[in-house]
Amino acid sequence: MFFIFNGILRQAADNRRSVRIEATTLQDALAELTSRFPNMRRLLLDNSGKLRQAHRLSLNGQILDLSENTLTLSEEDHIEFFTAIAGG
């Protein structure tokens, strides 16, 4: 599967727009992603290891319900992050 990044997450992914990950669930994909890019861990996950809901995710163009992190993924799936963070 592929992760696609914008904004601050793209910076944390060494400015790569897209990263390919070998994983069959969203949970495993996030674990692999944050292992490969440790700076991304704090941006993506809270202290309990859960994905921050402040990030919107789309799976192949459809907005994902973040409670579905056991979601199964195929090789061609694209998950895109939007850091919809306001204020500062």
Partner: protein, 389 residues
């Protein structure tokens, strides 16, 4: 559609009857208070609570009447129409959402101590989030100690900060996660400094500094992922923030038409010149289209269809309504010539006040980027359903 119009009429009557005099009284001193940069007098803010206006949209558990989202949006619109102080609904919405979020926590201790008095107008509250940094680089920190936590840092812009007895503060912990906590104005180490904003100068804005403020564990409202908590708060504010200015833009349009009808040029009322009629027509279109968009978003949120952090329709409504409201004030200024510049203090104040809408609760640019990114993401990739079919 007829149902909404009927409902709006009832809400208009309700606000006018129950709070019309109070709102007019608060508005009557706004020009002087804007010059002096002072918020509404404490007695009148207390009356907003004691007469039930602050609590109208809040849950009955904390003494509110629990009106639905669309009704509250319409109430705000009428507050904006009846009250010349643009900052009043801004303060009220910050306080209301703080009470609502405390109530949602289910924590009886915090609800009784803070949410109930906020709803009654006995306790001012402000959100202490902004600090001129991105959310991952905040310098306001909460560190553990033997008894609980120690808070240190500085929040630069707190709406209603000068009126606040309690602050909803967002701070990073040692691991870099964000927490939300409640800090009292009279906690040791808390100092409040009046701010000097460009607009909304009657909102009692302040910066707040925390110098090693000791906090007990029970003051933590959200122990993990406070970032999401804050974004939910801002998303909610994004919905409310243009409702009152919409009502004010309606009042500006009516005042402008009345003034132009009584102003003669070439022995003709200016309002009857064709180019002026067209301009008033465009202002009318702006007000009506902003209202339609906002009611659509209010209905969507009320029905539970909105995404809690970033809802595209709600965000689009905010962006659009801000542009329309500002265009109405700009056009009124252009139509009224010297009168708008010299003859009234109100238009200039609204221009400054409503300029702030473009940056509040998510800047127009950020919202547009997120909306556009969503459009791009949906552009070409087949959904699983269609791909699998």
């Amino acid at each position: 559609m007829a149902e909404i119009a009927d409902h709006r009429e009832k809400v208009t009557e309700l606000v006018r009857t129950r709070w019309g005099d109070l709102l007019a009284e608060i508005g009557s001193t706004v020009a002087e208070r804007d010059e002096a940069r002072t918020p509404p007098p404490p007695a009148l803010m207390a009356a907003i609570g004691s007469t039930g206006l602050q609590g109208l949209s809040l849950p009955p558990r904390i003494g509110g009447e629990g009106v639905d989202v669309l009704t509250w949006g319409m109430v705000l619109e009428q507050i904006g129409y009846l009250c010349e102080d643009s900052a009043l609904p801004l303060i009220m919405n910050h306080q209301g959402d703080i009470a609502r979020f405390i109530c949602e926590s289910g924590r009886a201790d915090l609800i009784d101590k803070y949410a109930v008095p906020i709803a009654r107008g006995e306790c001012g509250a402000g959100i202490a989030y902004s600090e001129d940094a991105d959310a991952f680089s905040f310098r306001t920190l909460l560190r553990r100690d033997r008894k609980g936590y120690i808070l240190s840092g500085h929040k630069t812009y707190v709406t209603g900060g000068q009126l606040s007895d309690v602050f909803l503060v967002y701070a990073l912990d040692e691991a870099g996660d964000m927490l939300a906590c409640l800090v009292q104005h009279d906690d040791p180490g808390v100092s409040v400094t009046p701010a000097f904003p460009m607009g909304m100068r009657t909102a009692g804005a302040a910066s707040v500094t925390f110098e090693d403020v000791p906090l007990s564990v029970d003051r933590i409202l959200e122990a993990t992922d406070g970032l999401t908590h804050a974004q939910r708060f801002l998303s909610s504010q994004r919905l409310w923030i243009t409702c009152a200015p919409l009502g004010r833009s309606q009042a500006v349009l009516e005042d402008c038409a009345a003034h132009l009808a009584s102003t003669l040029r070439f022995d003709t009322p200016v309002a009857e010149l064709n180019n002026v009629e067209a301009s008033l027509g465009r202002m009318y279109i702006a007000v009506e289209s902003a209202r339609a968009m906002l009611y659509h978003a209010l209905g969507r949120v009320g029905a539970g269809y909105a995404e809690p952090i970033f809802d595209p329709v709600l965000s689009a409504a905010k962006c659009f309504a801000v542009e329309q409201v500002r265009s109405v004030v700009e056009r009124a200024f252009g139509l009224q010539g010297g009168h708008g510049f010299y003859g009234t203090t109100h238009l200039g104040r609204y221009m400054r006040d409503f300029a702030g809408l473009a940056i509040a609760a998510g800047t127009q640019d950020i919202l547009e980027v997120n909306l556009g990114a969503g459009v791009v993401a949906r552009r070409a990739r087949p959904s699983r359903t269609s791909r699998d079919a």
